[in-house]
Symmetry: C2
Subunit: 421 residues, 2 copies
C-alpha cells in the first residue's frame, strides 16, 4: 500500500467565516447530534476580518490525531471533535498526489492520523463565534484533504456536530439552518438563502464590549433554558416559524425595515428566554443596553430603521447598517458615546474596514473629541460618554463562505514535519 512508503505529509488549508444569527438558535432537541428546537437564519461575515484558517495534514509518520488552536496544542478527546473526525473519515475517498507520489485509498483513512492547526484572525475569547468558524473550517479542510465528495450542505451536517451554529458558516451570504426530520440528523443542514452579492450594501459594525463577567457557555446555557424556561418552548413552536418566513421574505426583497425589526426583536427575545431560565442567564450588560438604547432612539427619531442590532451569548453588539452612509452616521454615534480611552490609537480602536473612518469624517482623536451629541439626544447638556466601556470596534460586511487556500505559504503546518510552523 502506497501510504506505507516514505515519510510524506499531505496537507490542505482553508479559511472559513464566522456568522451571526438574525433569527436565533437557542435550544437543542438532541444533545449528542446537536439538533435544534427551531430553525435559524444568519448572515455570514467577511472572512477578511473574521475567520478561522485551518490546515489539516496527514502522514504515515503521525502516531495520533493532534490539534493546535492559535498555536497552542489542545485535546481532541472531546466528543465534538471526535464526531467530526469520524463522520469525515467515513466519507473519505481515494487520494492521489502524482507529484509527491502519494496514493491513499478510501480504506487507508481509518488508520491514518491527522494533524490540525487552526488560527482565528480575531480574539477567540471575544465571543465572536470562533467555534462556528473553527468547526466549519475543520469540516471543510478535512473534506478537501480526504477527497470527500459531499457538498457544503452535507458537510454542514458534520460541522453542526462540532458546534451547532458552525453549520451556517459553510455558506456565504444569508443562510438558513433547517430543522430536519430524520432521527440521525442528516437533514438538519444549512442552506444558502442568498449569496453575499444579493444585498451587498449592508455594513456590519461590531462593538466588542469590555466585560469582567464570566459568561455562561452557550452549551450549558441553552440546556438550562430547554429544561427550565417556560417561554422558550412557546417561542420555538409558535413564534420562530413565522419569523423565519418573514425573514426569508425580507432578505429576498432586500427590505431593510422588516429585516431590522425582526433582527432586533429576535435578539431581544433570545435574551428574554435566557432571563426566563432558572437560574437566569445575563449575556448583555449595561454597555449592551446603552448601545441598544442609542440605536432605538435614533431609529425612532428617523421614523424608519437605520440600523439593526443583534447580540449572541455575550455582551458584544453586532450592528447592521442599511448602507455606507448610515454606517458612517452610526460610527459617529458609537464613537461619541464610546470614545477610545485616553492615550489610545484610533487605528487600533476601529479594526476591519478602516475606510469607514474617513467617510465618517473621523481621522484623529481630536475629531472624536469634537463630536457633538446626536440630533436625537433629548437633553444635550447632561449627556454621558463612556470611554473604555467598548474594547474596540470592527467594521465589516457580509462575506463569502469557506475557501481553499492553495498558496502553501498560508499553511499553518510545515509540509515537511506536519508540525506547526
Amino acid at each position: 500500500m502506497a501510504v506505507e512508503k516514505g515519510q510524506w505529509v499531505l496537507m490542505a488549508t482553508a479559511r472559513s467565516p464566522t456568522n451571526i444569527a438574525v433569527i436565533k438558535y437557542w435550544g437543542k432537541r438532541d444533545e449528542a447530534l446537536i439538533l435544534p428546537i427551531n430553525e435559524s437564519i444568519s448572515i455570514t461575515l467577511d472572512p477578511d476580518h473574521l475567520s478561522a484558517t485551518t490546515t489539516v495534514a496527514v502522514s504515515p509518520s503521525f502516531d495520533r490525531d493532534r490539534m493546535w488552536l492559535n498555536g497552542k496544542e489542545i485535546s481532541l478527546d472531546g466528543g465534538r471533535f471526535q464526531s467530526c473526525l469520524r463522520e469525515i473519515r467515513r466519507r473519505a475517498g481515494d487520494v492521489e498526489d502524482e507529484r509527491k507520489g502519494i496514493q491513499i485509498s478510501k480504506g487507508d483513512w481509518e488508520r491514518l492520523h491527522v494533524h490540525i492547526a487552526s488560527y482565528n484572525n480575531f480574539p477567540t475569547a471575544a465571543g465572536l463565534a470562533s467555534s462556528a468558524a473553527g468547526f466549519a473550517c475543520l469540516a471543510f479542510s478535512l473534506a478537501k484533504l480526504m477527497n470527500v465528495k459531499e457538498d457544503c450542505g452535507e458537510l454542514s451536517a458534520i460541522a453542526r456536530q462540532g458546534s451547532g451554529s458552525a453549520c451556517r458558516s459553510l455558506f456565504g451570504g444569508f443562510v438558513k439552518w433547517t430543522m430536519g426530520n430524520v432521527a440521525d440528523g442528516s437533514d438538519s443542514i444549512a442552506v444558502q438563502l442568498a449569496s453575499e452579492t444579493h444585498w451587498d450594501d449592508l455594513v456590519v459594525i461590531i462593538a466588542v464590549v469590555s466585560s469582567r463577567q464570566k459568561e455562561t457557555s452557550s452549551t450549558s446555557g441553552m440546556r438550562e433554558s430547554v429544561e427550565t424556561s417556560s417561554l422558550l418552548h412557546h417561542r420555538a413552536k409558535e413564534i420562530v416559524p413565522k419569523r423565519i418566513l418573514q425573514m426569508e421574505e425580507a432578505i429576498g426583497g432586500c427590505d431593510f425595515a422588516t429585516f431590522a425589526k425582526l433582527t432586533c426583536a429576535d435578539s431581544n427575545q433570545f435574551h428574554a428566554v435566557c432571563l426566563d431560565t432558572c437560574p437566569p442567564i445575563f449575556y448583555m450588560n449595561d454597555t449592551s443596553h446603552r448601545i441598544i438604547n442609542l440605536v432605538e432612539r435614533w431609529n425612532r427619531f428617523e421614523g424608519t430603521p437605520q440600523v439593526a442590532y443583534t447580540f449572541d451569548a455575550g455582551p458584544n453588539a453586532v450592528l447592521i447598517a442599511q448602507n455606507r452612509k448610515t454606517a458612517s452616521l452610526l460610527l459617529q454615534r458609537l464613537l461619541f458615546y464610546f470614545p477610545p480611552p485616553p492615550g489610545s490609537e484610533l487605528t487600533s480602536y476601529l479594526l476591519g474596514d478602516k475606510s469607514i473612518l474617513h467617510e465618517s469624517g473621523l481621522q484623529s482623536m481630536k475629531d472624536i473629541e469634537a463630536l457633538q451629541p446626536p440630533l436625537e439626544t433629548k437633553d444635550k447638556t447632561s449627556v454621558q460618554r463612556y470611554a473604555g466601556d467598548v474594547s474596540y470596534f470592527i467594521c465589516t460586511k457580509i462575506g463569502r463562505g469557506p475557501t481553499l487556500l492553495t498558496d502553501e505559504g498560508q499553511a499553518l503546518l510545515s509540509s515537511e514535519t506536519g508540525l506547526p510552523k
Copy 2:
C-alpha cells in the same frame, strides 16, 4: 345646612404600606379602569419602614381640591386622582362631629372640596412603589373622612383606579389581586391570603441600587409590552394562573423553598417580557444582575433556597430571607460585595431594622472591611467588591395594612387652616 356654618376643618390621617409583588402584575386589559391581564400576589411591607402617611381635610372654606406630596403642591388634574375622588365621593355617608358641631350629610360631599397632604417615609424616586402606598392611603383616608361604609376589599377597587398595584396595599400580610369578571371592574379587588402574623419569620432586605439611567414608567412600559411582546400573552394566559395556585399553596404552608423558587422565576419572567417588548425595556442593571448572581450562587451552594429575590420596574432588589439567621448571613454577603463608599456612616447605609447589623456581627466600617468572601465564592483571590453601586439597604419585614392615626400631632395639615403644617 350645617356645612355652611363657620370655618371648621374636619380631618382624617392614615398610614398605608407599600407592597412588592411576588407574582407580578404587568399589563392591563383596560387602561381607564386599570384592570390587569393576570392575577398577582404581593407581600405587604412593614409601614414602620416604608409607608405613605396621608391627611385629608374638608372645610367649607376650601375653594378647590388641592394636594401636597412630600410638602410640594401637585396637580390633581390627572384622571387617576379624579377617579379616586369621584368614586369615594359617590360612596360618602353622613358625618357628624358633635364636639366641633359639624354635620355633613351625604349630599353635601359633592360640593365640598378637600385638601390632601401625603408624605412617604422613604425616597419617592427610589422606585419603591410609592404610588401604591400613596393611592391606598388616599382611598383609605378619604373613606374614613367621608364615612364610607365599604370594606377594604371594596376600597381596593377604588385605589386600583389610582395605581393598579395600590389595591394590594389595602391589606397586610399576603395579598392577591383578583382579575374580576364584570365590565366596570368592581370585582377586580384585593383579597388577603394570610395576615402578617401567619408567616412572620421572613425578613426583607431591600437594596436601593444607584442608577443614572432614566427609567421607562411602568404605565407606558406595560402598555408597550401588551402591544408588542408575543411572550407576554402566553405568560398571562398559560403560566401565571398555575403560578398563582402554587404560590397560594406555598404561602398557606409556609413552604419557603417553593415560595422562593416561584418568586425568583416570576421576577425574571416579568423582566424577560420587558426585554421582549419593542423597543426593549431594561429595568435591571449590572448591579441588579450581580445581586441575583450572589443569591443564586449561595442558594445552589446550600442546596436549598436561603433567599428569594424580586425586582419591580427599576434596578432595586427586594430580598426575602427565610428567617433572621439567613437574613444576617445575607447581609454579610451584601455588605461584602457592596460595602458603603469610603467615608460614609454604616447607620445611614442600613436603614429600617438596624438590629440585624448586630446579629450579623457588623457594627462598624472595620467589621465590613474585614469581611471575607462568602464560602460559595469559587475564585476567592480575584473577587471584586462594588462600593458605591448600592445607595443603601433597608431591613424590614412583612407588615400590616392601612391604619387610622388618631393622634392629631401626626396630621400633615393644620386643623385650623387645612394647609400643610
